[in-house]
Amino acid sequence: MARSVNFDLNHPLIEYGLESPADEEGVHDSFNQLIAEQSQNEEMFDTFDQGPLGRRELDKEHQDFVYTSSPPHTFREREPDRGEYELEEYGEQTDPLIPERWSSDTLKILSSMPSRTIGRNRGAIISQYCNKTLQLRRRRQSKPADRVFSRSSRPSIRAYDLEADTTDSESRDLTKQDQLVNNLQNLSASDRERMLRGMPLCLTVKKKLRELASQKEKQTRSSSRINCCSHFKLCIIKSWYTWSSFIHSRQMWKVPLKRVSGRFGTGVLSYFLFLKTLLFFNVFLFLVMGTFLVLPQAVYPPEVPANRRSFSGLELLTGAGYFSDTVMYYGYYCNYTLHRNYNSSTQAWSTVKLPSYNMPLAYFFTIGMAFFITCIILVYSMSKSFGQSFRIDKSYSILAIKTFCSWDFRVIKKNSIKLLSENICTQLKELLGELKPKHGRNPWLERLRRLMVHCLAWLMCVAVTTGCVIGIYYFSDYMHIENQKQGAAQEASLLALPVLVSLINLLLPGLFNFAAWVEDYISPSVRTYVGLSRNLMLKVSVLGVLCYHWLGRIATDGTDYIKCWESFVGQELYRFLIVDFIFTLLDTLFGELLWRLFSDKILKRQRKPEFDIAKNVLDLIYGQTLAWLGVLFSPLLPAVQILKLLLLFYIKMSSVMMNCQAPRRPYRVSQMTTIFITLLCFPSFLGSSVCVTYAMWSIKPSESCGPFRRLQTMLKAGKQWMKQLAEENASLSPLASAHAYLVENPLFLFVGAGIFLIVIYFHSQVLDGQRKIITLLQEHIKNEGEDKKFLITRLQSIHEQKRPSARKLTNQDSTELQEDKPQFSNYYGSSTSG
């Protein structure tokens, strides 16, 4: 049922249309009623027409003119020409669809329509939330009670005052409030909290609702029996909330992150958040490895070889030497069930009263579990990020979105805000430039020229990358042979390969940037993607050739030089991580600090170097790939990565704050974050897990060290255990045969992958269908808009037809009315308020 629309002209007149002409309290269910009321009021006005209150009617007509122009103040400026203006207005009978021609009543009806009042009007919020909670309750299968949603837009105090004026609205609102409270109380605690938090009401009203809901709940609780299941659920939920709020409040690095986002915006912040994410992945890995591998082996130390080297400083860089016979590397781990430890001082074995621990099995399953859980977490975060940034509907609201969504509310510093303003300005200008038709001298020649330049640039980049990769291939071979010749004496020469690779990783992106600068891309996002793909290509090929070198060459090399190839590969990865860290430090030092000093003192420019977000994130992903590759061969590598990330955070943070400025080019944060998480999942994690799987599946473990010595492949440990179980326990033999049939059979994997692909195909088809539905709905909305326009113009024409006589009067008396307006409105308002 609709409220009577309050045509109190007193209120809007004085403020000249600054306030909504609609009554904020109105809840509208029926358009018919409004039209009926409107026609009733029109009849009322018609009777006034003839009476002595004709001037009041003129006043009302005058008010029509107030609404015919928007904004009203420009109308006032046109006062001297008012006569002509009015004539003009009525002269233009040809285009009745101009909103400016609509009368105040039409505008009032329009603005009171349900679709227009959503988001601000109390009634609209009430009805919207009514439906929401009703649906929620039906879903939760509780009794459908009536909902009351008291939407109070701000100001709520004024709303309450207005309520007090009309008795029926007050009673209705009270019942609505009761209904709302009833609904809230019938929801579960978590749903209620979620609903309360999500309501766009002011906090006072929310608190009152909550209080009423819990009061009633207490009353009903005492009368009905408490379901112990729901009580238990409530306890769980409460404890979960306290735990999560505890975690939330202990947010790591909260203050530095806020400083960075305040000064540089969300783009640079995303780099540091990505670093934090990686840190948590490594902490998880470290905990798993530490608990299941390192700790048991440390408790049961094995027999130490006689020629164990003593600690010298070089180990920290090379990872060899003293470290090679510690828990750090694969070679230290035993291949039997641990139940006794070796005392190196007494050189004897002693049994300890601790449970025995099957080392090979533990190693195998720990690595498998760690990778599996990391995979699940990665895919989950990737899909969540993808869901946030992917939009099915590819429509083109670019300018509108740029205007409303590009302002970064997190930026606090004045200079950064200036920069952000300039940024947005530039983007808008670029977009406007794209809208204008391009008039080139000869578009075909221009396009051909650009194509040539792009091809050349790409050719150069690919050639340089291939050259470097081949160089790494031959150099690694050369170093391998050299080290074999020289034996184990030259440890420092082991650092040559990591240094070369890090140098390539440092210098080549600079070359790619130069190529992009020469190419002069029009669209900045295309430039970012091209730069990203070139860097990615470089890193993937470098890692590929390195993996071949380690797994293809060293692992299968049968020489005596490397007795324990797994430990050697672990050490190589450790070296790569450390050298990569050192080169990142050097890059920060030279790239940012010295460049800033150079540009300040020598070039005397005010511009600081920019923080290249994409390059830095790719470096992080590269480091993480190395860590994942090395987990199998060096269980303590996640600890090294954790230390590296912690140091990197503080160094980068101080460097950014001191030396850099925010990126000048626009940076689409959520898209780039999605891309980075995807890159972390797909080339990085997938590649490393493929390598690890290959190492476990096909390569023969070394004979003299590690938990898998004397086995054909590492996987055989699992098979052996299954066989052992089956032999010991006859009832488990079907499990063993199932394992033998399913897991070891590659057909199972193919079938699984096939089913997965089919599911993905179905989902993409669903997406296509949804896109089609969206275009249909948009057409529908357009048609509805046309319908509305038609109805409104009909209303307006009816309104105008009913008052033809009054029009002539206004032309003469309008100027007099202008000065007398306030008094008239008061008079009019007081007489109609009753």
């Binding site: 766009p200 002011c202 909550r210 200008k429």
Partner: protein, 187 residues
């Protein structure tokens, strides 16, 4: 919890926790921030819900809001009287709606209210022009501003009334993935 605080009763803190996206600790720190805006005005003891409002001019001195282009609109939108005088409830509500865990729908509603300068429940061309002038600080020419406004309304207006109603605005925002991360003030 070690120190006993007398700012709020337990029930009050629970009410705040249930109705906003903040934890107890954050609410207490918010009260500290609110108090330091006007120490002579805001009492330490809020157990009896005093009706104190801090004026707009003091609230916009906060570092999070000081340089924000839309600071006046934000404070006016969240204040009960519409003039920018905020009680503590309004203060908490403002930062809760703009925090990281606030849902998209809530942020959309408030973004619409903030951008609606003349509070007529529509974002009309004048509102857009004001927004643009604030964003670009007069760098764009008047002709460019008009062009951008016209284009933006053309793109986003679905039902053809050359104004953006809330439904149009919401539809447009749903296509902008950056909105959630940008429309966030960290306290």
């Amino acid at each position: 919890m070690g120190n006993k605080q007398t700012t709020f009763t337990e029930e009050q803190l629970e009410a705040y926790q249930d109705c906003t996206f903040f934890t107890r600790k954050e609410i207490l720190s918010l009260h500290g921030r609110y108090r330091e805006l006007a120490p002579h005005l805001v009492p330490l003891d809020y157990t009896n819900n005093p009706d104190i409002k801090v004026p707009l001019s003091l609230i916009v001195t906060m570092p999070e809001l000081k340089e924000n282009l839309f600071r006046d609109r934000i404070v006016e939108t969240f204040s009960e009287d519409g003039q920018g005088n905020m009680s503590f409830n309004d203060f908490v509500d403002m930062f809760s709606a703009l925090c990281e865990t606030s849902p998209r729908e809530l942020k959309t509603v408030y973004a619409f209210k903030i951008y609606d300068f003349n509070r007529d429940n529509f974002i009309c061309k004048e509102d857009l022009q004001k927004t643009l002038n604030k964003l670009t600080k007069g760098e764009l020419t008047a002709e460019e501003v008009t062009l951008v406004c016209d284009k933006a309304i053309e793109e986003a207006d679905l039902d053809g009334d050359s104004k953006l109603s809330f439904a149009d605005f919401e539809n447009m925002i749903s296509k902008a993935p950056d909105f959630l991360s940008n429309f966030h003030i960290r306290i």
